[in-house]
Assembly symmetry: C2
Homo-oligomer: 202 residues x 2
Amino acid sequence: MKIITIGREFGSGGREIGKRLAEFLGITYLDGEIAEAVARETNLDKNYLDTVLENGISDIPVSYAHSFSRISPVSDSARLIAKQHKVIKEMAAKSDCVIVGRGADAVLGSLHPFRIFVYADMQSKIERCRKRSDGENLSDKEIIKKLKSIDKARKATHDLYSSTPWGDKSGYELCINTTGIDIPAIIPLLAEYIGKFFDGRE
Amino acid sequence: MKIITIGREFGSGGREIGKRLAEFLGITYLDGEIAEAVARETNLDKNYLDTVLENGISDIPVSYAHSFSRISPVSDSARLIAKQHKVIKEMAAKSDCVIVGRGADAVLGSLHPFRIFVYADMQSKIERCRKRSDGENLSDKEIIKKLKSIDKARKATHDLYSSTPWGDKSGYELCINTTGIDIPAIIPLLAEYIGKFFDGRE
């Protein structure tokens, strides 16, 4: 069972690394499928779940929270996250895969995944956000605020379920600073590195 | 100018990575030469300097400190470290090189080195210490105490001169957890990764 989990700072290119790694290795890339499965089980909107499940419980907009009639937003968030964990375990059990975010490093800890954390300098993250139009019409200051807010929510959600803090190197096999790095160029090297890690375990 | 600096937790295999990388790349490995040069300039014993300069100012044994007749141990430590920085800059200016520890990441910051930090789980570090006989006749508890004490001194010395804390991933291009990793197997991959980083900068 070869599972690769990728934690990442918003704007650092972690998702790009995850997608490219999965493609290069010819293994499953789990992302939207997770929210889709949770949506099927809960009858909630997939796009809404995408936002909540990726960015964490401190990020639930009040307008959505109001739509839960019978239970409080907090307990509902916990319930959604628990449902997501169940889905992640089921999907990861089916085949080798790459999972980006979603606390997968902690959820799948007993399966000994190769855990990557991707980060970058603030300037590099701002540029990446602008390139992919995440930062359209925003000032640098506003982008920084957005980045910090998303990372804070990711950390809060992650740390509820993990024995090592989000982004703390002790919880990862490899921490990659993408500042000044050409991501496509390092994918084959990463794939080989991870292969050696799994070989050593067999 | 291609400079690779390696910070590391004691017992994590950082020095082994440094030596093997330099050998693989065919570039200079700077280590004992630095203490030798400082020894020549100060008329102090090389072995003594090796200990002080590698493990930091909080680690100067009282017996040695007493041998400095005219100045206090602390100002003398600062003077030695400043001398070491000068030597590091001179040596790094001469050729591409790998430097392990000694705050080289901060000292050579303006030359934009590729900065690696090497770490590992405590159990893995204990085993490595036992293998290389650093932990002869010591209990696990005693080895852990030794590891923590050395890392604390390294951090204290490093952080005097660096804008990013010792071991904090933001100050490194790559952080490598050697737990479960076969070091010789990853050297060619690291070398290629670093090459791509420098290529991107040219």
